[in-house]
């Protein structure tokens, strides 16, 4: 660790992992509710479990992004963080607010929660992913502003690298587009239209800048390739991302009451969205193959490469599968969407946050890399989680294909619930795979507690086996 204020990243990363565990537990509850409908009813109805599952995902990814930014920006700017105390204060505010929100979801009926938290003043709740009470939303904005203030001032007083500029642009964009969550017109079509300005322009827009910056940072560190080379490719990739992704928003405007031309605009541009992901994968592998050093943290390298591949598969390939309007006409709002959502979020955002944690945590704990034994456990967790996510996606895809066939495509379409019964086998298989994912997560957490002789940068002359790359 070069700057002692980078240490504030550590609690952020720990909180992220903690909330990640919660997310997966609720995912398993929901998965079971798909096949045992009355499981935990009425204590935790499905809609509550889902809200907790998705909101925890968002919040822990935000914790991860913030931790990453607090870690990266001082090092990139070659200066201490503007205010470590502000960073710590915001950490506790965000954690407590997040925890209270989740407790509110679980303890109070949602309508009651809405009433208690001022939803009558400004109705923003009850929309997918934006279920947070008004107070929490305001809290998120305040935390985000404080966070951006802190980082922007840090950047301004230090070196301005492309990586930290791209990161900050992504984070500012994240905060700006979140403001659309406060706009909830009575007109459902308008509501949905601008709802996507938060959701789509986050995950297929500004978040990808953050993703690119995190990946580029770790790649510079673990490969030793010239910053110039990595940064210019970063620019090329995020350019491709935004020129396809911004108009690509149109693939959500096919069937919600928006004009018909979006079917063309949305299909054309989103059909090209896999290209930046493919470029990112090629880029990551290329940089690792051209590495000038063998960083002892092989686990971080593995996560970095995995991010490229899984983001391409989940966001790129699975997105393309159902993005063309004639296909989406049948698949819209089915398990196909769920399949895509799972692998895309895991492959792009979960994995990139785990990449930066994998790289930064050992440093924050005073070593270049964890012991070989700890890394082996971590790599096991990588494969367990990644492979089980691939199978979760495949099972949901199978369920979705069958659902589309029986409910939408067939000449004698069956009712929704009849179809759900017929595809329950796939839901069972998904649930079993989900348990394996949890085992992977347990292994991941365990890897932090595995002892052994820690590696240093100097001791890393050998050992390039195990990360699955060809020697340069």
């Amino acid at each position: 660790m070069q700057y002692k204020s980078q240490a504030v990243a550590k609690p952020y990363f720990i909180a992220a992992i903690g909330l990640f565990i919660g997310q997966i537990l609720f995912g398993l509850i929901m998965g079971l509710q798909y096949v045992v409908g009355d499981f935990l009813f009425p204590a935790i109805p499905f809609n509550i479990a889902r809200m907790v599952h998705t909101n925890l995902l968002i919040v822990w990814l935000l914790f991860g992004f913030m931790g990453a930014a607090y870690y990266m920006v001082p090092e990139e700017s070659e200066t201490e963080l503007y205010s470590p105390r502000l960073a710590m204060a915001l950490f506790w505010i965000f954690l407590v607010a997040g925890a209270l929100t989740i407790v509110g979801y679980l303890m109070v009926p949602y309508a009651k929660l809405a009433e208690m938290t001022g939803n009558d003043l400004l109705a923003t709740m009850g929309r997918e992913f934006l279920e947070q009470p008004l107070l929490t939303k305001v809290g998120i904005v305040i935390v985000a502003l404080g966070f951006l203030f802190n980082l922007t001032l840090t950047l301004l007083k230090g070196r301005k690298t492309s990586i930290s500029l791209v990161l900050l642009m992504g984070l500012w964009g994240l905060a700006v587009f979140f403001l659309f969550s406060f706009y909830n017109p009575e007109n459902l079509v308008k509501d949905k239209f601008y709802w996507w300005w938060v959701v789509h322009l986050w995950v297929e827009g500004v978040w990808e800048l953050i993703l690119g910056a995190l990946l580029a940072f770790v790649l510079i560190k673990v490969t030793g390739v010239d910053r110039e080379v990595i940064e210019k490719w970063l620019y090329v990739i995020i350019t491709l991302t935004l020129i396809t992704g911004i108009i690509g928003t149109g693939h959500h405007y096919f069937w919600i009451g928006t004009p018909a031309y979006w079917k063309w605009w949305g299909s054309i541009f989103s059909a090209l969205e896999p290209i930046p992901f493919f470029a990112m994968t090629v880029f990551a592998f290329n940089m690792v193959n051209r590495r000038r050093r063998d960083h002892p943290n092989r686990a971080a390298t593995l996560w970095a490469l995995g991010t490229g591949v899984m983001a391409f598969l989940g966001a790129g390939v699975w997105g393309f599968l159902h993005t063309l309007a004639p296909v989406n006409y049948y698949t819209h709002g089915t398990q196909i969407t769920a399949a895509h959502g799972h692998m895309a979020f895991y492959g792009a955002y979960v994995m990139v946050v785990l990449t930066i944690i994998s790289y930064a945590m050992p440093v924050l704990r005073g070593r270049a890399a964890n012991s070989n034994r700890a890394q082996v456990v971590e790599m096991w967790s990588f494969w367990l989680m990644t492979i089980s996510m691939v199978f979760i996606t495949l099972f949901l895809t199978a369920a979705g294909v069958l659902q589309v066939w029986l409910q939408r495509f067939s000449t004698s379409p069956l009712p929704f619930m009849v179809v759900q019964d017929q595809i329950s086998l796939f839901y069972w298989m998904r649930e079993v795979t989900g348990v394996i994912f949890l085992l992977g997560l347990v292994a991941y957490v365990a890897s932090f507690f595995v002892k052994g002789e820690a590696a240093t940068l100097a001791s890393s002359t050998s050992g390039r086996a195990g990360i699955g790359t060809q020697p340069a």
Binding site: D38, F46, I48, A111, A114, M125, G126, F193, W255, I256
Partner: protein, 141 residues
């Protein structure tokens, strides 16, 4: 001879390209705003519909159902439920939840008043009349 590939040019292309597509997106969004009155059924957007939308929201219906294909995939699509089931069925159904059939998916009891049920039905009726480019493909949603 190898060509030039400079970071400054890559950066300029990024800024220029991004600005370009943001502007294009804004232009299309502007056109969409102009075109919406013909499609979004706003003529029927009564206070009852607005009240119904709020009931839809504060009971987190989207946490199980889809509405015009967006939401959770645990329970049936409701964008066209008005056409599929009609107003009376919807109200009776909501009143009678949960079914408590062992092992079946359960919908909570939301204790809605008759007025609230009427508003919710109005909202679902309004939603079913939005011009969705003929989606969903059939009445089952």
């Amino acid at each position: 001879m190898s060509g030039t590939f400079s970071k400054s040019m890559a950066r300029n292309v990024f800024y220029g390209g991004t600005a370009f597509f943001v502007l294009l997106f804004l232009a299309l969004s502007f056109d969409t705003q102009q075109a919406l009155p013909q499609r979004d059924n706003r003529a029927n957007l009564t206070p009852a519909v607005a009240a119904g939308k709020k009931i839809w929201e504060v009971n987190n219906c989207i946490g199980c159902h889809t509405l015009l294909g967006e939401g959770a995939y645990y329970a049936p699509e409701l964008g066209n439920v008005y056409k599929r089931r009609g107003p009376d069925f919807i109200k009776v159904w909501i009143k009678n939840q949960p079914t408590k059939v062992p092992g079946r998916r359960q919908m909570p009891q939301f204790n809605l008043t008759d007025k609230q049920l009427d508003d919710l039905v109005e909202f679902l009726k309004y939603t079913s009349e939005i011009d969705t480019n003929n989606w969903p493909p059939n009445i089952e949603g």
